[in-house]
């Protein structure tokens, strides 16, 4: 084991001096991510320029028992990239090459630092489609998407990141390269290691290559907006659409608070008196799209929508999505601190969950706007507050506890897509039960005996005790 100074020199030798940062200002710039949690600066930050260098960095960390945290774009909302004191942050943003887009076999091979939206655009240029589209796609990395199993607006019809990971190459805790999965649609060769690694938040291995499934681009799409006088009508509409065997690409929900915030912000002419709005898009073959759109419209009307507007052209379609895209912006401008939560319930429980959130907002005297992927039951209650106000912050913490409790009571889950990280790990046992945590900790202890891979995330601190 080298001294810290010796180890620093070793990193400089292996990765090149320009790729090792240790000045206090640089360290502070890697002490946070997009979650509202305590920050912590690392001891060192490294930026490998090749997969090989990435593996060497992992190996060096393991040899010297230095905890490491991989960081893509640092946009996760659960504290997943906050390092350990004395730990190292490994950046993947120099590993940003799309290695292959295979149009015959419908897959792509990428490095982990490729930015989601850039990848989606390159795939589209080849006439194909990569559906997962998290709201952060303009900056998020594919490595981060896989490690968080990110979702997006198109989850209802097209699934989430997991559904597109065909294979992975990753470094284990000792920096050995492990290959999982294949370039084929079917693959049962060995354990499904890829399945284990997806959503592992950097705690089980460090991805160096990802093989992603691509699909043909749908030919046509149509977006519409439906306004409801009651929340329950909107969510019953969601169920009605799906039970009519129509699976829209997107089925987004905005509550009254969010509608008013968006209207205040963008003056797009939204109905500020509406209790809820659904934003719906169907896609497929042109004839199918027209038929589905007409059906959706009549279902909305039957379920009590007071206004329905179908986009007639691309510009109108953009306008519909602009309203949804600006939801977070509009809300976040209201108060200094924005806590974006991610509680998810079975689709039929959406109205109950929304009622609970409204009650919680009243009980703790907080502003909460709720929008989200109603089709998936994945809601984003967004708490608007000021972290500096300690009294209010205490109420926020209690409200978050209660939101989770309610979500679990309703048969839901802690997180639909934002991950557990550190911010939700304390709730995990409540959802999964003790046995799942013990099992997970055993896996972690076996695969990462020195507990260097993003320690403390998901399953908490105590790892090797059992």
């Amino acid at each position: 084991m080298s001294t810290r100074n010796g180890l620093l020199k070793e990193f400089e030798r292996v990765l090149g001096r320009d790729n090792v940062f240790y000045e206090e200002t640089d360290l502070h710039a890697y002490s946070y991510d997009a979650a509202v949690v305590e920050s912590c600066p690392p001891w060192l930050v490294v930026r490998p320029q090749s997969s090989e260098a990435l593996g060497k960095a992992v190996h060096l960390c393991n040899e010297n028992s230095v905890p490491l945290t991989v960081r893509g774009a640092g946009t996760n909302l659960s504290g997943g990239t906050i390092p350990k004191p004395g730990g190292i942050v490994i950046l993947t943003n120099a590993l940003d090459k799309i290695l292959e887009i295979n149009e015959e076999d419908l897959y792509a091979v990428v490095q982990p630092g490729v930015i989601t939206a850039k990848f989606a655009a390159a795939v589209e240029a080849a006439g194909l489609f990569y559906p997962p589209d998290p709201g952060s796609q303009a900056v998020s990395t594919l490595g981060g998407n896989v490690a968080e199993n990110a979702g997006g607006l198109r989850g209802l019809r097209y699934g989430v990141t997991r559904d597109y990971v065909m294979g992975l190459e990753f470094f284990d805790s000792n920096g050995e390269l492990v290959k999982a999965g294949a370039r084929t649609v079917k693959c049962v060769t060995g354990y499904n290691l890829g399945g284990l690694l997806v959503g592992s938040e950097g705690t089980l291995g460090v991805f160096s290559r990802i093989i992603l499934k691509l699909i043909p681009m749908p030919v046509a799409k149509k977006a519409m907006m439906a306004v409801f006088p009651e929340v329950s009508m909107a969510s019953e509409t969601v169920s009605a659409i799906i039970s009519n065997k129509i699976v829209p690409v997107t089925l987004e929900f905005m509550d009254n608070f969010t509608i008013r915030a968006v209207e205040e912000f963008s003056r797009a002419g939204l109905p500020v008196e509406a209790a809820a709005m659904l934003l719906i898009e169907v896609d497929g073959h042109p004839a199918q799209v027209e038929e589905d759109a007409a059906k959706v419209e009549s279902i909305c009307r039957r379920m009590g929508a007071t206004r329905i507007h179908a986009a007639q052209d691309a510009r109108e379609r953009d306008k519909v999505w602009e309203a949804r895209r600006s939801a977070l912006s509009a809300l976040s401008r209201l108060r200094p601190t924005t806590v974006l939560e991610d509680a998810t319930v079975p689709r039929s429980k959406v109205p109950a969950m929304i009622r609970c959130i409204e009650e919680i907002a009243r009980k703790f005297d907080l502003s909460i706007g709720t929008f989200g992927h109603a089709g998936d039951g994945n809601l984003h209650p967004t708490i608007l507050t000021d972290r500096r106000d300690t009294g209010e912050w205490l109420r926020v913490e209690k409200a978050i506890d209660e939101i989770f409790e309610k979500a679990l009571e309703l048969g839901g889950t802690l997180s639909g897509e934002h991950g557990i990280g550190t911010s939700k790990s304390k709730y995990l046992e409540k959802e999964t039960g003790r046995a799942a945590i013990v099992y997970s900790r055993r896996i972690k202890a076996a695969l990462d005996p020195k507990n260097i891979l993003n320690p403390g995330k998901i399953i908490g601190e105590r790892v090797c005790t059992i």
């Binding site: 930026r47 976040s332 401008r333």
Partner: protein
């Protein structure tokens, strides 16, 4: 030892603005500096976190934060795309001023801002002298673009700089105060780069105004708009420059103040009112009034005049058209939302067809003194712009800011590319000259 506590108290003034950042990281998508370096401390989120760190007294000394704060083009791309509406540029400019107030102004900056730029008469005569001698130091690199590179090895030697014009705009024109047929009258704020390096743009402004029957007021010995001082944190010099210009233009009677420099326009409109320092109420009112009526030349011509065109006279429809592309200066599009008007000026010249380049509003990487301090980063950002220009297949590239023109010319010239770099108003005036026989001077 640094008194970091005292500094924390000063930076705390920015707290209300700093807390607006929710650390979402969306600014990474648009920051030109971050795109090149991949370092979090270079993107707005990182810099804002560093300022927050000063408040929390996390750092042992202020130098590191100051240095990273200066690694920024002040292009405003982050602010224009920030979901939370963080006033990034306000914060950065204020923070630079606080840090300079705390650590002291760099001696070289002191000479430039306090000794030269805030005394326009001295500066102007220095430049006149330099113009006479520059032939000795600069050899012409590209006759076509009119750039020069250093004859002797000094730090700027590998760059293709535009030389000072043989005679500045101000020297040629002197003071102007004439009325026009339309009854409208414009004050013309020339700005350093147009005055000393691109006087042709100034002449194009005059002929465009004339063609549209607009009277003009141009005081002589105009000063710098102050942005170099402000962006280096020198509020004192900035305040002096603002007051100097204010007095100069108060002598005239005009409806609008026009400039052909995107940076000057956005500085006058947005930064003069905010940063001019301790002013009397009367002075504040005058600044606000002046800022209110300041306009980019293309916006003025399009919105306030009938925009006389050669086509409206039915001439020259059958001329072979050349491809022209347009680069959106950050200080025009991102800061003031002006993008259609300059393109309309180009459209008014029937000799050209507009061919948009990809990412037309991507920063060119100049960023004023950023270009001098961080030339390598600046140049790699500039090369992306150059590539977009080349891919568009245009033979002329137009823009609305002389600083962008300098950077683009440098990049094209270094690559040996013969693409003309012009101001949109030059393209417009050019059509007038040829087609309407408007005499320029």
């Amino acid at each position: 030892m640094h008194d970091m506590k005292k500094l924390a108290a000063l930076v705390k003034e920015l707290e209300e603005q700093l807390v607006v950042c929710m650390r979402c990281g969306m600014c990474q998508a648009v920051c030109p500096v971050y795109t090149e370096t991949g370092r979090e401390a270079d993107v707005a989120r990182g810099k804002l976190a560093l300022l927050d760190g000063l408040i929390q007294q996390i750092f042992k000394e202020p130098g590191g934060v100051h240095e990273r704060l200066m690694r920024c083009l002040l292009c405003g791309s982050c602010a224009a795309n920030c979901p939370s509406g963080v006033k990034v540029l306000d914060i950065f400019l204020k923070a630079r001023a606080i840090l300079v107030g705390y650590t002291g102004l760099h001696p070289a900056n002191k000479i430039i801002f306090r000794g030269m730029l805030s005394h326009p008469r001295v500066f102007n005569s220095l430049v006149r002298a330099a113009g006479m001698f520059q032939g000795v130091f600069l050899k012409s690199a590209d006759e076509f673009l009119g750039t020069s590179c250093g004859r002797f090895s000094f730090p700027l030697a590998h760059r293709h700089l535009k030389a000072f014009a043989p005679a500045s705009f101000n020297t040629t024109i002197g003071r102007l105060n004439i009325n026009g047929g339309s009854g409208l009258k414009a004050g013309f704020f020339v700005g350093c780069l147009i005055d000393k390096i691109y006087p042709n743009i100034g002449h194009a402004v005059l002929s465009s105004l004339k063609a549209n029957g607009v009277g003009v007021f141009v005081p002589d010995e105009q000063g710098c708009c102050g942005i170099p001082a402000l962006s280096s944190g020198d509020l004192l010099a900035f305040g002096k420059m603002v007051r100097y210009n204010l007095d100069l233009f108060s002598a005239g009677d005009f409806d609008f103040l026009v400039t052909a420099c995107a940076t000057c326009t956005s500085t006058i409109k947005k930064l003069w009112p905010m940063f001019a320092g301790d002013l009397s109420e009367a002075e504040k009112t005058r600044i606000n009034e002046l800022a209110e009526k300041t306009m980019d030349i293309s916006q003025f011509l399009v919105e306030k005049t009938g925009l006389v065109t050669a086509a409206s006279d039915g001439k020259n429809f059958d001329r072979e058209k050349a491809l022209i592309s347009y680069h959106d200066p950050c200080h025009l599009k991102k800061s003031l939302g002006i993008e259609a008007q300059p393109r309309m000026l180009l459209g008014a010249n029937s000799g050209y067809v507009l061919k948009e380049m990809s990412e037309a509003d991507r920063c060119c990487g100049c960023g004023g003194s950023f270009n001098l301090k961080y030339y390598e980063i600046s140049a790699s950002i500039g090369r992306r712009k150059r590539d977009s220009i080349l891919q568009s297949g245009c033979s002329t590239v137009a823009t609305s800011c002389p600083a962008c023109m300098l950077q683009i010319s440098d990049m094209l010239s270094q690559a040996g590319e013969h693409i003309r770099v012009k101001h949109a108003v030059e393209i417009y005036a050019d059509s007038l000259e040829r087609d309407l026989d408007v005499d320029t001077h």
